[in-house]
Amino acid sequence: MGKHEIKNRRRFLKDAALIAGGLFVSGGTGPFGQILFATERKGTKGPWYGMGIDLEKCIGCGNCASACKAENGVSREPYYFRTWVEQYTILNDGTVKISSPNGGIDGFVQDFPESDIFKSFFVPKMCNHCENSPCVQVCPVGATFDSPEGVVLVDEHYCIGCRYCVQACPYGCRYIDPDRKVADKCTLCYHRIMNGMLPACVEVCPKGAKIFGDLNDPGSELVKFKREHSWQVLKPHMNTDSKVYYNGLRAEVR
């Protein structure tokens, strides 16, 4: 092998080592580093908010849905809900009937005779404030985002109204506000929780079926709820890392 070839080989090996080393070091700081070196994940500093919903306690009064609209100035027309209640009626023959007339705000009627009913219950729904939120992922301009406290918010002054986020949400919790003409959804009453108050829906629930709390606070009601109940989230296969935990969630719930 000539001197020239040996020199080239050395230079190549040196360059390769530099590149590999650089990648290794940069990997330690980038997203790859989080997997390799267990660097800090989001949501470990400061409060990290979520919600618990106890289906064994919900009586379907619709106060939460109504209070939310009052608190947040959402149109009272029956087409826009930041939170709503669904009624599930499972008949003896196995068919599942679901209804949510005006989001449950006016209460529910039961059409089926009690003798036909196998089981019936209410399921409050809301934005799941996912840690791995598909709506944040698809926003083309950065108008919807995770706050440092884990609340998924909408920037109403920046949203262009493309509606991609509404399409991407698996839970159907987003809509376009008819007055402001931007995307809108449950904000966990960010303006209340950041000022020491409870979200409006939690405040007015007569049976304490909604439990608000800080997942990073071991003494919070929500953490206690998660410890004491076998909780589940909606559509876990979507891998959204939803932060709304249900107690008593049955397989029939969509």
């Binding site: 029956p78 087409y79 949510s100 083309p140 262009i160 991609y164 399409q167 991407a168 159907g172 008819p178």
Partner: protein, 399 residues
């Protein structure tokens, strides 16, 4: 506001089963059906042009320039349905200044700018540059001045300079092919990556979009080529036309196979969403899917074109059948976009019910508006053909 709520109230009465309360109104309507349709025509027309330039299918030479001008006319209109559909159209520029790169939609602004400026405009400019210089010298008055502006002040048409045009144009076309796939493929990805919607969420979506784009683009160029020759009362180059029809047949078969694969796979795997999608296809989408998209839009054209490939037929009958096929294909591919966009929003994400869709005639998202966005590109094309007539291009200089 009242008519909006009136409309929603009407939709509420048409709900079948259970939908999440927010799902009552369809979010993406006919304008969003139009956008992939138009960019598909652009990408498809460009691919046909590149067949001649890069893959050296010389027989298609007569359609090269027409294909580029057609692609350009439709590309100029492509953003309009998107921007006019936004709830806050005056904020459209945000997508260019703060694009959120985890969103497929964010690359729209850049892909569009890139394709318009770097690919189409440059390719057309390199193709026409020599003629622009000559026309600017030959044509008097305002039109001559326009040609002068279009030369961008570059007057050199020496053989060495023309050779550069040839090389650069070729390079641009080569870059243009993956760019065309990106321009239309990302739209397919926008739908295909929405895991929340099982009608959209499939790996095949960008691929199907690209192949149906090629089908519609080839059909469009074929029709434009026939129309231009008819209007100019010129005898059409039948060898070229027959070749276009052959490529159209191949593209149709590939597209049909891919769409078929998508459905067969869905039926076979029969996973959670299958029941509601089955009801969707056999209920709300019966006519638009089976009759318009697959029946008239694909099977009938395949049969006609296949017949013409196997059995010899006279020139007149071939022309009539090609025109009919072209129109059927264009309608069929429009319905393909319709079935994807509208179909995907007709069923609830709870998989427990359906909402309804009413297409208005007038209004910002109405049928007339959609027709406008399809007619304007044809007007632009007519203008471009008047300004840059391919048949008036100066013959190649003798070496």
């Amino acid at each position: 506001m009242e008519p909006h709520f009136q409309h929603l109230h009407e939709m509420l009465s048409k709900v079948d089963g259970f939908i999440y309360p927010n799902e009552i109104d369809l979010n993406w309507s006919v304008l969003i059906v139009l956008y992939p349709y138009i960019t598909g025509l652009v990408a498809g027309a460009f691919i046909l042009a590149s067949l001649e330039r890069v893959f050296k299918v010389r027989v298609l030479r007569p359609t090269y320039t027409i294909a580029l001008l057609t692609a350009m006319s439709f590309l100029l209109v492509a953003t309009m349905p998107l921007v006019s559909h936004l709830a806050q159209p005056q904020r459209f520029y945000e997508i260019m200044i703060t694009p959120h790169f985890t969103s497929a939609m964010a690359i729209f602004g850049f892909v569009y700018m890139w394709y318009l400026m770097v690919v189409l405009l440059l390719e057309i400019w390199f193709d026409y540059r020599r003629d622009l210089v000559l026309w600017s010298q030959e044509t008097p008055g305002f039109k001559g001045w326009i040609y002068k502006v279009l030369t961008l002040g570059v007057k050199d048409i020496s053989p060495k300079s023309l050779k550069w045009d040839e090389k650069l144009g070729y390079a641009v076309t080569v870059i243009g092919i993956p760019s065309a796939f990106l321009l239309h493929g990302y739209v397919g990805f926008i739908f295909g990556s929405v895991k929340a919607n099982p009608w959209w969420s499939t790996v095949l979506m960008p691929v199907i979009f690209i192949f149906s784009a090629m089908v519609s683009g080839i059909a469009l160029v074929m029709l434009v080529f026939m129309a231009v020759n008819y209007i100019r009362k010129k005898k059409i180059n039948m060898l070229c036309l027959d070749t276009i029809a052959k490529y159209l047949l191949v593209a149709l078969i590939l597209d049909f196979a891919l769409e078929g694969l998508d459905q067969v796979h869905r039926i076979y795997e029969s996973e959670e969403s299958f029941q509601i999608l089955d009801l969707l296809v056999k209920g709300k989408l019966t006519y638009t899917l089976f009759l318009f998209q697959w029946g008239l839009g694909m099977l009938v054209p395949i049969i006609i074109l296949g017949y013409l490939q196997i059995f010899r037929s006279g020139e007149k009958i071939r022309k009539i059948l090609y025109a009919a096929t072209g129109i059927l294909v264009l309608v069929g591919i429009f319905f393909m976009r319709w079935n994807v966009v509208i179909g995907g929003q007709l069923f609830s994400k709870s998989f427990a019910g359906f909402t309804a869709f009413k297409l208005n005639l007038i209004g910002s998202e109405g049928l007339l508006m959609a027709a406008v966005w399809l007619i304007v590109p044809l007007l632009i094309l007519a203008f471009l053909l008047w300004l840059l007539p391919p048949w008036k291009k100066h013959p190649e200089p003798a070496d």
